[in-house]
Subunit: 310 residues, 2 copies
């Protein structure tokens, strides 16, 4: 087992096959999202001067999705100094591929969602998988959060029953707006440097990442279908715009994917496709006591066990 | 002269007097802005657990200013580790006071503006002034930019004719959205660690900072008055929302004042009063060739000499 593990550290997998699978994942997710939509995804192919490129797909002003971005990328080249310093690495090249998506629905009753699955390889022979899914409801619906977490847990448990507890806490800590003392939403799972953290061999990690990727569309669409036909008011749309402001804050202040993209001279429009179509900042907004807005704020905290009924 | 300079490094000035002056500056600016407004500023007094506090004044939904924030603060306490590491300092206390403002006008014909004047003291006996003013037009009007820069230059020249050239370049470099390869607007002046950089003695620096502070309101109101009565279209308002998105990006990704505030556990609503009331992100927006939008984008770059006629 130890030997197997060391093999995995030395990048025993063919990265072109991993990238090819990520492309099929992008295809499959876009197709499934389009099934509930009147609009279609538009594709931009881009290349990066320093090496690699991507395939960004955006659906705008749909009947359900106001802005949905599903991006595949495969980039490589010299690791920028800023990242070398941050990771305390010597001069090296990097390779990164994956699928990243953020969906901003029109209705405040349908949650914002984010998923990312990624593979990294450094020229020193270290390689790993990472990823996660997290849900950001504008109004928290406990049954949705429970369903969402139980589905994630079931997928994790298929691989290792230590995964869900570990990656759920990791998501709570990661998707956190420290300056607001608020989680971004009801969390989900987050994991990084798999195989390096010895949670699985490289091959096992890939199977796990594939299962997470395949889970996304049916899981999210179940929640979309529950709420897509509900009417909403101006006030609910305004609350959504404010919550989107928090989403923008998280992405620009904390999100490592965004920082990595901007630091590695990625395509800005693809990196910032995660930004909300419209956001509002209202100075010192205070939710009305006992309102649904205040109830949601009460639930935006770490450590809630969403898998069990209260 | 050298002796005088060394005195200045050792904080010869009374910080309570500096803070008191910043308070009168806040009063004076708010009064002058209210003269063109139907709405009034509302005040929030806040205190910070670790030491100090502030007086935040916000005017919302005015006839001219959609959101104007003018904040005084005076904070002190142990320097957070994150800042000690960044500045390569040993364990110490800090003291910071100043006035910071950002104004988001309703009309896309009236530019966004930002001003900051600040004083820092570290417990190791180092102290300095900093500050700046910069203008972010939604549509660049060359005569406005020329007037704005010439007024800044005149104020700088009164003190030292090396100031304007140096601080203008500093503003170009500082107010820059690297990931967009765009300046935030037409720039202005930016300066930091005055007295440490030996540009002036501490007393001379304070006089300069006072002159910059006093210049702000008449300078900005001249530009406001030029355009406040112009009509505008839905399209112009939409372009404004997109430019505000860039403004939000700068504040959250690059602005050192925002980072310092969030890192020192400042009052989040006061720090983020600089955020636009509403912002839009449109994926891969391309300005129509030869449109006024494209003309503005062409002028959002470093190194333009705004003081002279073309």
């Amino acid at each position: 087992f130890l030997i197997l593990h060391y093999c995995s550290l030395y990048c025993t997998m063919d990265k072109t096959q991993i990238a090819a699978w990520f492309k099929t994942l992008q295809d499959s997710i876009c197709m499934q999202l389009e099934e509930v939509e009147t609009e279609r995804f538009h594709e931009d192919i881009w290349t990066r001067n320093e090496g690699g490129g991507g395939r960004t797909r955006i659906l705008s002003k749909g009947n359900i999705f106001e802005k949905a971005g599903v991006a595949f990328s495969e980039v490589h080249g010299p690791t920028p100094d800023k990242i070398l310093t941050a990771l305390n690495l010597e001069k090296s090249n990097f390779y990164a591929t994956g699928v990243s998506l953020v969906i901003h629905p029109a209705s405040p009753h349908v949650p914002i969602v984010h998923m990312n699955t990624r593979y990294f390889e450094m020229s020193n022979g270290i390689c790993w998988f990472g990823g996660g899914i997290d849900l950001t409801p504008i109004y928290v619906v406990k049954e949705d959060a429970r369903y969402f977490h139980n589905q994630l847990k079931a997928t994790c448990d298929k691989h290792d029953d230590r995964f869900y507890p570990k990656y759920k806490v990791w998501a709570d800590d990661y998707f956190f707006n420290k300056h607001r003392n608020e989680t971004r939403g009801v969390g989900g799972i987050f994991f990084d440097r798999l195989s390096e953290t010895k949670d699985c061999t490289l091959e096992q990690c890939f199977t796990f990442v594939q299962d997470v990727g395949k889970l996304f569309a049916p899981l999210y669409l179940e929640i979309v279908n529950r709420h897509k036909s509900k009417c909403y008011s101006e006030e609910e749309k305004r609350w959504q715009s404010m919550r989107r402001g928090r989403y923008a804050e998280f992405n620009l202040v904390y999100d490592k994917g965004t920082k990595f993209g901007l630091d590695t001279n990625g395509r800005t429009e693809s990196i910032l496709m995660s930004m909300p179509p419209m956001a509002v900042w209202e100075y010192n907004f205070q939710a009305t006591p006992s309102s649904r807005e205040e109830e949601t704020l009460q639930l935006l905290r770490k450590g809630i066990n969403w898998t069990e009924e209260e």
